[in-house]
């Protein structure tokens, strides 16, 4: 398991905070495309769903590592939410990213996950200053099989969406509630079943989306801001209206 360091960190002249897991601030010099995965690890995900999700992240990682553009620009983070929300992997370049050991237990602290996301984006994603180029706006992919058990609205209120690029929420399986997810983002997709093929298809689509946005990002004059900007989802992944 990754342990989040809390000690402070380096401040540079331009007052950007750097995460201590980086030995060298030069790792930050390219404009990165941050990708945050918010993954439901509540008790109901135990078994095949959790295994599929871990495999999904693994596949995502290996396919992005095979894309020379993503390899150079994308950075990945995992935030898990069960009874509480934890960032199991801080924003990390693909080549050093270690797969987290996820365990499914507890309730669904989705609101806390959003608040944590906001916190992590604030400290990990570099803002552009007149002297120094920062990162792209992060892409966020949230996957859940249930309904939030904490105060979702508090999480939504805490989240500054102007700092984010596209935010896709995926309702996986019959017990996920798309209306709750719609409160977080317009871009909600659905998986009918919570099996390995559906989850694999979702992560394949995430991978294609990251590749696309890292390759074509300035074509549309803006970050990917809605589902229309992403590659068409596979048939297992339906857009929820």
């Amino acid at each position: 398991m990754f342990v989040l360091h809390s000690r402070v960190i380096n401040w540079f002249a331009n007052k950007i905070k750097f995460h201590p897991t980086y030995k060298n601030y030069k790792d930050y010099v390219m404009r990165r495309l941050p990708v945050y995965l918010l993954l439901d690890t509540s008790g109901s995900m135990a078994g095949e769903p959790l295994t599929s999700m871990v495999n999904g992240v693994q596949t995502l990682l290996s396919s992005l590592r095979q894309d020379p553009h993503a390899l150079e620009t994308a950075a990945l983070s995992v935030i898990e939410f069960g009874s509480e929300a934890t960032q199991s992997v801080p924003l990390t370049e693909l080549i050093t990213f270690q797969l987290p050991e996820m365990q499914a237990r507890g309730t669904t602290a989705m609101g806390a996950a959003l608040a944590l996301l906001n916190d992590r984006v604030n400290s990990e994603v570099i803002k552009t200053t007149p002297e120094r180029r920062g990162d792209w706006r992060p892409l966020v992919f949230l996957l859940t099989d249930g309904i939030p058990t904490d105060d979702l609205q508090a999480g939504i209120n805490a989240l500054d969406k102007s700092k984010l690029g596209i935010f896709v929420a995926c309702a996986a399986g019959p017990h996920a509630d798309t209306t709750q997810l719609k409160k977080i983002t317009e871009s909600v997709v659905q998986l009918d079943t919570l099996d390995s093929s559906g989850i694999a298809a979702f992560f394949k689509w995430v991978s294609d989306s990251v590749s696309t946005s890292s390759a074509k990002i300035d074509l549309s004059k803006k970050d990917v801001t809605d589902l229309g900007e992403l590659p068409p989802p596979p048939e297992e992944v339906q857009i929820a209206f």
Binding site: K26, D27, V29, M30, R31, S62, R65, Q66, P68, H69, L71, E72, I95, K127, T128, T129, P130, E131, R132, R133, G134, D135, W136, R137, D208, T212, A215, K216, I217, D218, L219, K221, K222, D223, P231, P232
Partner: protein, 498 residues
Amino acid sequence: MTNVIRVQTLDGKTIEFVDEIVGSGAMKDVYFTPCKTKVVAFYREPQDAASRDRLEMITGAYKDRIFDAPGGNYWREQFCWPEHMIEHEGKLGMVMPIYPEHFFFEYGSINNDMLGIKGKEKQGKWFASSNNRERFLDAREKGNWLNYLQICLKIARSVRRMHAAGLAHSDLSYKNVLVAPTKAQTCIIDIDGLVVPGKYPPDVVGTPDFIAPECVATGHLDKHDPNRKLPSIYTDRHALSVLIYHYLLLRHPLRGDKVHALDPNEDETLAMGENALFIEHPSDTSNRIKLDNVRESELPWKDTDKLPYTITGPYLSPLFERAFINGLHKPNDRPTADEWETALVKTLDLVQPCVNSACTQAWYIFDNTKSPSCPFCTQKYEGALPVLNLYSSRDGANFKPDNHRLMVYRDQSLFPFHINRQLVPNERLDDKFRKRVGYFIKHHGRWILVNENMPDLSDVKSKTPIPPGAHIELIDGLQLLCSKDVGGRLFVVQMVNN
């Protein structure tokens, strides 16, 4: 498990493909034929009449125009050109040749292919980024600087051919130009998006890094707005210049450290569009790469003081200046593919092998100084270095300089196109002119030209013939008449460092 589907091409041929997507691009899904010698690609979206018509032209008249012309066979390996049009279940598609073997990684990445890219396509981005190349690629995949010059020549030549046929590719990028550095091979793919001025408009804007500044700057306008600038032969020229700069110098000509706006998207649009500025602009230094911002794996490439664009020599440097200084915002001033091709041919005659056997680039361009050294590893050349200055006659009497030099090194070959100005090494060169006619060796510290097949070769001053089979020592001031044919060359030998 998977079905094999049999369809008729629109020109009446039968083709089979395996009903399993093997790859997906921005617009198309790709399938293999059962024998895996061809691929079939279908557009996911329905195509309008103009696109159908265009594909018909690409698989018909345009293809014939290029491949059926003299020297046409040369292009079969340079383009992955759609051969037939097909339609299946309402989807329009095309049959294309599969890429040759050498465009797939043989060794892939380091540490026993840690990235798992063995067998995957050699996308140019692997080689055009110093970080990818230095940190991840197996040394056997990388190739040296001579290979990249040759790659640039092939790309320029292929683009020249398309442009000569009135066609613009419209999305030249390292994704759409496969490269095999160790074999110095290239292949232009995604031909189906090509643009014919006034006939077929573009359907993509291009790929970031390669989109011309005027297209980026007007990208917010409607496609039919008269002020909107869309891909064309002029924007292909920009993309070609960026490709050449990128492959030779492993950095983007416009991606410096000037921040144009605090919003990342706005910054990108300005940096690549309206405010685009060459990182090596001679007077406006505001977009220089700051070395403090450079990763170890990007050096020395991103150090523009150590490796300025002028290391590319006297023929390419002025073209880079036109492409990124004068012509950056003036499309008409951009160098043409033809000009790049000519300059690259001449530049390839200026290469020198680095005497440092550990030098990763292995070759460099003679810097026209008395003590030449390799810009990549700083190794100095030792000993006498002969340079041949090429002259030719327009009237058979007076010889004028051709602004063309030939560097001599061990086992360097002389070809018919060196000894006659009228012969150009390109696809139209007859096979009989592709055989070497002489070579250079160093023997006991002396440089010697061995004549293999130059019947007219003679020492001008002493009027001594040097018949085939004979040889002559190169000394400063020696004048060699190579050919009495029209366009025949005179070499004037200059010894550097002697």
